[in-house]
Structure formats: C-alpha cells, structure tokens
C-alpha cells in the first residue's frame, strides 16, 4: 500500500507539465464559452442560430464520415497481407507504413499539394497517358482534402486491423470452407467479424482525428471544406471571440468523448467473443 502511494510521486513531473501546459489553458478556453463576453449560454445560442457555425460543424462530421470508410477500405488489404503474408513481406510492409511517421505532417501535406496541383505530377501523368485533356481540379477542394487525410491516417487503421487479423487462426477459414462456406461467405461470416475490434478501433481513431484536423483542410481543402478547427482559429485570431471559440471547442470535445464511449462499448462487447 505505502509503496504504491510513494511511487505515485513518479507521476508528478508529467502531471505538473500536463496541468500547466494543457489542462489549465484548455479548461480556461472552454470556460470562456460560458463567461465571454458575459456569463451565460449566449455562445451556444449563437452556434445554433448562425447558419455558418452549423454548416461548418456539419461539414466536419461529413468529411470525417467520408474519410473513415475510405481509409478503412484502403487499409484492409494492406493489413491482411501484413497478417497473413510471408514474414519478409510483413517486414517490408511495416517499414513502408511507418516511414511517413518519420516525416512532419506539414511536409507531407505540402508534398501532397505538389503532387495534386494543376500542373503537378498526377495531372501531368493523366494528361500524358490521355486520361484527360485538361488538368483535373484536385487541390483546394474535397478531393485534395480527402487525399491528404487518408494518406496521413492509413497507419492508424492498418496497425489495429493487423493486430486483430494476426490473431485469427487460419484453421477458422479452413473449417468454414469444409462446412460449406464459399470464400465470400466465409469472409463475411467468419473473417470480417473477427477483425471488428481492430476495425472499430482504427475507424474511431480516424474519425476523431479528422474531426480536429487543422493543417490538412487549411492547406489542401477549399473554402467550402472549412472545418471546425479552422473556425476556432478564425474566431480567436481574426475576431478575438474567445467565447464562440470555447463553445466550438466544447462541441468538438463532446463529440470526441461520445465516440470514444461508443468504441469502448462496441469493442468491449466484441472482446467477449474473443
């Protein structure tokens, strides 16, 4: 008992840093929602009444809702190969998926912009091979934003999916086959359900991360893809409106917490089936 108590002191440095650098300022910002410019709920009323706020919040949810399935679909085959391919292939895939982690988000986003711009690599390629006459608009719109989000978020789905898949005994699929299941039905009824814990974890991570993205929509998206983090930045930097910024932040935080709770609930249930 006493040893446990004493060891808790080890948490003190990190705890203090977090409190001073994170909890206090964030708490202060959030509290502005109820105190700025005067005490009350007027900031939340404003969020509800001004169409621009609702539109940006809707936008944000919509973009997260598109990014998530695309990322999961692209991650699935990669994770599958990683889990069931040869050890050599697995090492290569892990390496390739990790490389982007060693590069800054800003650099990666600019790189994506160079790739997608009007006379960028992708458009030159498409024109050279006759897929299109005119360069396609790939940047500063939904396409650019999606490309940016998906490439950054892929590893966050690949790794949890991989860890679920690696635990699936290949004998399950053999058993399903001898029991009369075609490969498609064996996949849908046996394999896919067993990947759900990893899939749900990855999907939630992607959804939550996208909700709060700032750099990617700012660099790759257009005016119509404005997201909640950009709005918060605008409110503070341009208008000095700490109250609305606090209220928006609170909404973002609440959405994230709700999603995490949902994940806890669903994966918690799936874990029983393990």
């Amino acid at each position: 008992m006493t040893t446990v108590d004493r060891r808790l002191w080890l948490l003190l440095p990190a705890g203090l840093t977090l409190t001073v650098a994170f909890l206090l300022p964030v708490g202060w910002l959030l509290s502005r929602a109820f105190t700025f410019p005067q005490p009350g709920f007027q900031n939340f009323v404003l969020l509800w009444e001004r169409p621009v706020y609702l539109r940006v919040m809707g936008n944000t949810l919509w973009i997260s809702a598109i990014v998530t399935p695309i990322t999961v679909l692209l991650a699935f085959p990669v994770a599958h190969l990683m889990a069931h391919g040869s050890p050599r292939l697995r090492r290569w895939l892990v390496f390739l998926v990790l490389v982007p982690f060693w590069t800054s988000l800003l650099v990666r986003s600019f790189a994506t912009a160079i790739l997608l711009q009007r006379h960028g690599v992708l458009n030159s390629f498409l024109i050279a091979f006759g897929f299109t006459e005119e360069p396609l608009p790939l940047l500063y719109n939904m396409a650019g934003l999606l490309a940016g989000c998906v490439q950054v978020l892929l590893p966050f789905v690949i790794f949890p999916l991989y860890s679920s898949m690696a635990r699936i005994d290949p004998a399950y699929m053999r058993a399903a086959s001898t029991l009369g299941a075609t490969p498609v039905r064996a996949f849908l009824r046996v394999y896919l359900p067993l990947t759900l814990p990893g899939l749900m974890t990855g999907a939630t991570l992607v959804f939550i991360s996208t909700l709060g993205y700032y750099i990617i929509p700012a660099l790759l998206g257009g005016a119509r893809q404005q997201m909640i983090a950009q709005l918060i930045q605008d409110q503070i930097a341009t208008f000095g409106n700490w109250g609305v910024a606090g209220a928006l932040s609170l909404v973002l935080l609440a959405a994230t917490a709700a999603l995490l709770a949902l994940l806890q609930f669903t994966v918690g249930l799936k874990e029983i089936a393990r």
């Binding site: 053999r174 058993a175 001898t178 029991l179 009369g180 299941a181 039905r185 009824r189």
Partner: protein, 352 residues
Amino acid sequence: MTNVLELSGVQKRYDAVVAVDALDLSLRSGEFLTLLGPSGSGKTTTLMMVAGLQQPDAGTITLNGASVAKLPPYRRDIGMVFQHYALFPHMTVRRNVAFPLEMRGVSKTEALRLVDEALQLVGLPDHGDRLPKQLSGGQQQRVALARAMVYRPALLLMDEPLGALDRKLREQLQLEIKRVHQERGISVLYVTHDQEEALTMSDRIAVFNQGRIEQIGSPEELYDRPATRFVAGFIGDTNFLSGKVLAVSDGRCEIETPAGRLQARATQGLLVGASASVAVRPERVVPAASAALRGTITDVIFLGTSRKYVVRLKDGTECVVLRPANEAALGARGSEVELGWAPAHATAFRDG
C-alpha cells in the same frame, strides 16, 4: 459394399519433401478407417487432400464414385473435425453448429431441430447459448463433432481430434465418437498417432510410414499378422530376435538365432541364408517343454491383471513375457525358464 472414398496413386510433395507417395486407399460405406503413423508420415496431408484443402500433385480422389479434382472444399459434402476444434469464437455453440446448415440454405425451423438433435447426440443439449471459450476442451471437441456431422456429410474426417485432451477424457470421447459413428452409420476417416486409440476405434487401420501405407487391415490382422517389421514395432509391444533364414516353405520359415532355432510365419522377401528378425508378442510367449529358447528371469513386474517377466536368453538378448496373473507364475527372479510359441504367433521379416 460401395466405396465412399477412393484414392489411387495420390502423391503430394512440398519442395523436396515427398509428404505422400503413391497412395492407394479406399473407404467402405459406413466404415471407420484410421490412418495411423508417426509424426510427419503424411496423415494430415492425406486428410487435407481428401477435404480439398490441399491439391495432390498426382493421382485421383473419388468421392461417392465421382472425381473431386475440380471440387473446392465447400462443394465436397465432407465434415471435418480439426485438432484444435476451430470453433468460431464469435458465435455461440448453437450458431456454430447451425453454420453448415445455414450455408446449405436449410430452413430456420429445420436447422433448429437438427442442431438440437446434434447437440443431444454429443451430450450437450443445454450448452447451445454458450460461447466456445466458455466450454472445456472436451466440450469444445463435442461441439466440433456436432458441427461436422449435423448436415450428414457422406464422409467425416477427423485429424487427431483428441490429441489435446488428457487421457481419461480421451478414452471417454473415443467411446462417444464410436457410438455416434454407429448410431449415424457415417463413414469416418480418422487420424491419430496413438496406436491404442487406433486399435480401440477402428474397423480398419492404415499404417503410414514416410508417406506410404505399410499395411492396411483390421486391428486383429495388424496386431497378429503384421506385414512389415515397421508395423510389428509400431503397434503393440514386440520382442525382436534376429538370426539367419534356414528354410522357407508354405508361408512358414525357420530362423537360426544365437538363442536357438525358431519357427515363424514368413513374410515377403525372406531368402535362405539372408538375415532376418522374428517378432513375437509378449503374451504369445508361453512356457514350453520342447523349448526352443532357454533363459533366466531377470525381472518380474506385477501389473494387476498380468505379470511381466523379463527373460535374458542365453545369447544375452532380452525377451519380455506377459502372462495372466491368475496363471501359475513362470518363476521367480533368477530362475531358469524354457519358452516357446505356436509358429503362427510369430512373424519373420527380412532385415534391411
């Protein structure tokens, strides 16, 4: 009698390893046939090819009279029980057992009835709503059995289904599988490397060695009339005495050993003057007056229903003798004995 399954000239190689070679095998309708052999002898590979999970490199496999070369596993009307059960962990027992019925489009009500019947048959009528991990190993194995036969496949394949269980449970389940086999009249191809299990359960046993069948026959045949030295050594306990062939005629032979002149059944390839071994079961060795063998008892071990004597023959080889405990003792340790056997109870094999 028709054959459910026929393999002819089947071969399977993995790179340099020939896992199964020139295999001929047929399974009669309703028969319980066991593939018995040491680790790596090709039993699992054979089963996988029958199930369609592996493709043979050569030869044909016929199921119910039709070649299955082009049939994927899910079209083969086969049930398979795996060593580690392979129950689907996210489905309840009932959903697991219903799975093959669902894949075959059996109606809900009919499926429910069949599932209940199958769970009843394996003695788990009240466990339908549990998840596999909430069951003991033995119970999981029963569920796997129920799942593999609920749709009444033409053939049931079992790959060391009891290998992961302790001895007592194994013996209990052996009897249950045997009972289910008889009640359902299902044809079974069973794999084990436990010779006692094979003897207990099988109508016929195919003894595998290095990808080939050494001998196939009823348990009695294999035990009493082994065709090769490998079979004699692999099934049951055996005394081997080596010597030279003196004469061969009419399926009988005479072997001169340092311990004495012995008579035995002859097997293929015995040549007069060549070296050979005589195999005889410990319980077939009897005290005999006109004795061929003479020796000294060096050990007596009481086994309850029988006594085991270790006899050192005059050339120094040891011969184990097993006599019923209710019979007069052969002698005490240190006493001289004279031993013999009916020639039909010993078998001579060519050496090398």
